[in-house]
Symmetry: C2
Subunit: 320 residues, 2 copies
Amino acid sequence: MRVKIVSTGRHLPERIETAADLAPRLGVTEDWILSRTGVARRHVSSESMAEMGARAARQALGDGPPPDLFINASGVPHQVLPDSSVYIAEALGFAGIPCFSIHATCLSFPVALHNIGALIAAGAYRRVLIVSSELGTRGRNYDEPESASLFGDGAGAAVVEPTPEGEQSAILGFELSTFPKGAGFTEVRGGGTRLHPQDPRTTPADNLFHMDGPGIYRMAVRRVPPVFNRLFARTGVDRSRVKFVITHQASGPAVTVVEKFGFRPETIVRRVEEEGNCVAASIPMTLAWVHQAGSLERGDLVVLCGTGAGLSILTMLLRW
Amino acid sequence: MRVKIVSTGRHLPERIETAADLAPRLGVTEDWILSRTGVARRHVSSESMAEMGARAARQALGDGPPPDLFINASGVPHQVLPDSSVYIAEALGFAGIPCFSIHATCLSFPVALHNIGALIAAGAYRRVLIVSSELGTRGRNYDEPESASLFGDGAGAAVVEPTPEGEQSAILGFELSTFPKGAGFTEVRGGGTRLHPQDPRTTPADNLFHMDGPGIYRMAVRRVPPVFNRLFARTGVDRSRVKFVITHQASGPAVTVVEKFGFRPETIVRRVEEEGNCVAASIPMTLAWVHQAGSLERGDLVVLCGTGAGLSILTMLLRW
């Protein structure tokens, strides 16, 4: 699919909460947080996900024209109805621009990017904005210190256009696999019709994030390698040629484990120490960080990858 | 986009609740409900949206092979994380099939169909399952009789494949416009990070459906005609040639008003009296009803259309 990410945006709220700040609230030490999760600090927002998303979007849109399609690719919504795209669009002053949401948990951004690649290739749109914006800290369960010390708030955005004649930017490959046997590993059980907020059976913990880290790890080490192997077999690309691996910043150990899948350690971008796990915003925020640091050159091979609640596994190869 | 809906599925729960059954709970009469909403009866589920969705999906899949992609296109989730596709996939026994959700409120099904058209055209997938499943009755606010008497439960599904050589099935046109000024007309304000279930400011009504029917009507009569006009101008098709108009079954008056947009009354399919407003499931349930009645022939022109929370307006033209 001949599409090009023409610009990126990211927003981090001003207020920083360190592992030392958070530790007493969780009844653990700063060292415990650092050794388990690798998250030294996170940013915490006083704004809504829509306002944060609009900030990242404005940076990505810059002085360019408005998009002809906008997709929200966040894991947790602003509210149940309408979908969150509408509230980000409202904050951006859009009127009439088509909007909807793609929800693939922490992998929403690359899934949306793949859909956009197909829509642009089909000639349906010519300038598409994607935004992922997350208030991960609002779903923390303080009785579950390991998951509660992971999350941060933030937003990432990108603008995608058809690749101009003579240029090489493209989505070269995309692989997604979902194993519902892992659905219970990462959950917010409330908020929908299963355990409605008004249902007397719904407990406070049901409305907060729950994670079984070892369960994810055991499933992922077995299920991830074939997904990478399919990506590189189908594209015919050697993974040693990849310049940057933008993985979901799930946790310190989760980013480190990507080394096992045949990538050189220096290609794996780490933001988790500084920003925590920003749910679906992690991938676009990390991509925007690399892009805005000036490290990406057109033609570079970039992998987007990660595991998400589901359990879903995604690998995607871009030529920048 | 050369894609073909090869099969459809629909599920209606067994238990029926009539306007007469519901009226006392709302403090209104049966006639009041019938005249305002046109909903004579609705089906009410004791199963989850995932179980209902799986029933409709099994009917659509029939004896065929499993899909290579599954998209949940429902307006209200089973729970916040993972997205609902995972739970429908789990009920279907899928393992490894890629899954995600597209959320465009009541218009989720046609938006997903358009995405699928592009993905299939790009060669990314060859057999895609879409399911919309809704428990609208769980979000009813009994203090708001007009909206509370609209909703029903149900699920619809379809399987989409590339159009074989020599056949003409296609998505001929697609138009979507979103006007966030209308966001407050149709809302469930709770369930996300805006008014989190645990937030002391969240009221019970925030977790239930709220609708400003006159507000939607005023915006829709002004905003819908240009969207239809664009569809028929761009496709070059005369709307008198459309055989079936499958509109979102928002309410009796909302279905009737489609006559104003230049379609012959006998082409507008009405299921709202029997099934109520099944949120995003209305469009695929209505499409499946027409298809399973044997009324659709290959080559027929079919319009999918509706307004959804946002306010979003969608029109789509298919050659069956």
